[in-house]
């Protein structure tokens, strides 16, 4: 099943080649997330309203290889914005994907930008 996770690689803002127009901002819950489909990828996008920031990461839980992270609760741990996996509450930094309460591999993160009330996610291909 690890073949799935190989598809997800962090994209740095400077490496964005494609800005994918995902969905209007208002379909994302306040301080919550939803899942976006891009090619054969599932990307969790979070509207961190309290920080006035948007984040994106893989939807795949690295622990159990299920497509669930977009359904997790967000917030912060010691100031680091994070998402908690709904299956076993593993938490991941939304900034760099690091697992904050364990030593799971980091998840892939993606840049997000908002233009004209639309959410765009950045990909390198």
């Amino acid at each position: 099943m690890n073949i799935v996770s190989n598809k997800y690689k962090t994209v740095k803002p400077e490496n964005v080649k494609v800005w994918f127009k995902a969905a209007p901002t208002n379909v994302f819950p306040i301080d919550g997330g939803a899942c976006v489909k891009y090619k054969d990828l599932q990307i969790a996008v979070f509207n961190f309203t309290r920080l006035n920031t948007w984040y994106a990461c893989q939807n795949l839980s690295p622990e159990k290889q299920e497509m669930v992270l977009s359904r997790g609760m967000i917030g912060d741990h010691k100031g680091i914005p994070m998402v908690a996996c709904p299956l076993h509450k593993k938490t991941f930094s939304l900034e760099n994907g690091e697992n904050l309460n364990g030593d799971l591999e980091a998840i892939a993160t993606y840049p997000v930008k908002i233009e004209d009330d639309f959410v765009y996610v950045g990909f390198s291909e």
Partner: protein, 838 residues
Amino acid sequence: MKTIIVVGNGMVGYKFCEKFVAKKDSEEYKIVVFGEEPRPAYDRVHLSEYFKNQDAKALEMAPAEWYAENNIDLIVGERVTDIHRSTKIITTAKDRELSYDYLVLATGSSAFVPPIKGVEKEGVFVYRTIEDLEGMLEYAAKIKKTKPNAKAAVLGGGLLGLEAGKAVMDMGLEPHIVEFAPKLMPRQLDSRSSQVLQLKLESIGLNIHLSKATNQILGDKAITGMEFGEDDVLDVDMLIISAGIRPRDELAKTCDLEMGVRGGIVVDNKMQTSDPNIYAIGEIALYNQMIYGLVAPGYDMAGIVVDQILGDSKSLMAEEIDMSTKLKLIGVDVASFGEPFMPASKGHSIIFENKTQHLYKRINVSLDGKKLLGGILVGDASDYSMLHQIYLNGMAIPEDPAQLILPATEGGGSFGDVMDLPDEAQICSCENVTKGQICSTIESGESKDLADVVSCTKAGTGCGGCKPMVKDLTEATLKSLGIEVKDSICEHFDLNRQDLYKIIQVKGYKTFNEVLDNHGNGGHGCELCKPVVASLMASINADTANKEYAIQDSNDRFLANIQRNGTYSVVPRVPGGEITPDKLIALGEIAKKYDLYTKVTGGVRIDLFGATLNQLPLIWKDLIDHGFESGHAYGKSLRTVKTCVGSTWCRYGMDESVSFGIELENRYRGIRAPHKIKGGVSGCIRECAEARGKDFGLIAVEGGWNLYLGGNGGATPRHAELFAEQIDNETVIKYIDRYLMLYMRTAKPLQRTAAWQERLEGGIDYLKEVIIEDKLGIAEDLENEMQTLVNKFECEWTQAINDPEMMKRFNHFVNSDEEDDNLVFVPLREQKMPEKWS
């Protein structure tokens, strides 16, 4: 660079490596470890945990990578066969040759198998390694197939034998303990305490046979029984031998090291054998003419050798070795320390015994009444840590030493505060951690809570017996520094749940952000505080989970239970378990239509598994059209009120349990609480509804209902306590209203009623005063609050499917109608299940 070869990668061999690499001069040495077992060292002390989940990794002392990271060559699955002392070379079973500067023998022991005729038969096991346990599990499964009530015996009623007895019970076999001596645990207990233990163990189903010498094992190929004497036979289908240990000293024989007459390699207080370049540690070492079958002395020996090799020649093994033990056998506390039994010429004994409660306590006091020499505790070992410390440190004892063991209600019990211990007092004997070390890691600011203390000092990471004391010490030290030990819900609030309840109620907050901005610590919330606030809003304002769905726990957010592969299960409410044939057919048809795996739950409802996010609203629309409503199986709220059929059909029934059960379930449905709530109603004392295993349970008796409160199943099962007798329906509702509301106001997050009630000062009597006698004058408030919640009930699924805005969240993707393409189902007995986790 010098080479140290460690033979044996067991607990002590591993500990040697750990202690060695922690020293700063260790880089000048190369360590090579040989282990005969196929895996790296694991925690043999907790071997029985392997029965729970067969997870060998969880028992590892350290993963294989740890050895590599620390520059240790670990070679597992390879036995060392010879030592050539003159050339300082060892050879292995795979003909490898390696030379050493120092050799550390940590070959441990193997289980001793007495030479009884027939021990080689199939179905006879020992209890020492993971492979032994695997063999037992496989064999037990095999015999249970042909013989559902198969029996298994354990030969040996000592510490380990009783642990094996528990394993036998867990494997679902009828357990028998066969002991040669006339009492259980002959080495740790005196006859009276042994009898108390025996009574207790028998009461939970262990069959105990004392003074039995086994002549032979019966059976053709496989064991069928044990014969003790003529006409004295016990039929058994499996046998676990636990008759002591034998040091694995065969290597010493190959090279003429000095050995004891009954085995073991002789060492001095440097742990040196008769060859100064060879050390022996752990269960192989014969020190003071004794083999010590416990980890703590083994760990000490490992530390001594580390020091000796690195040149600290003053580090020596203590003269006397503490063999005190405390353990929980099948839920029974047993402890013995110091000299558990001793002749009257050496001191006085004080004994407290209560056979009805399976309690026995004995302490031995010096003739002058000033020193504690040892003791035994059975049934309740909560005093153990303190008594053990008093004994180890030779502390002064009260004038009337009986106070040390008298139950608190009889005027004793309060003697001995952890903070009175001297700094050198050894709190954790496994890791050799003193009180001073624990206090100073807190005082220096290095440790801020119990978890920090454990990771900084390693206290409590061995046998775990010292944990209660480490916790007490940590709390007392924090307190002495003026640091409050808070039970705040998480890093975002300095408040506990009860405080937040009051604040939200008084201020009338409606959103999470209002609460966080006004009372939080400036952060943004997390997976701990969000659901707590959500649940409080629901308890106070009767909000459904639809209102602010992004702060709900995942299950509440989607009004369904998330399952292993991220799909959901659906449980409609079936109040009291009563269902019409038409509704049953409707459920079946809906399950078929959406291809859902269908199962009756433990709460006797019907659970439909495998629904995708996109399917949830469609399924619910169908269910609601057929007259169903949400069952709140996903919420921390009322689940079911389980009922027996009662007087409407049952010939024993005293009252209509179903009718009353339905009324109660409909009354409390949808109400959110700190944790889930379950009810039960039985029509007579035969208790077919298992009502006493529920948060609230009713049993119909002559003249009304008996009400039981605070029971639960789950990980720590507890029977509900009898609260009121022979009360009518109206009074039942009044009491349950008040009880649940009080629980909702004051419990901690995720605390079931059982745990809440147990920790409530004054317990059930206090509850009676508040609920029945209204001592706090809040009974009416509690009832009114509950009535408001009851009146405001609304089915949240009906609410959701009627609101297009709310429906938006039930899509896997926001930009596509496709479903999750990662889902894989495999067939299972004419239905389906998610593919296994890899």
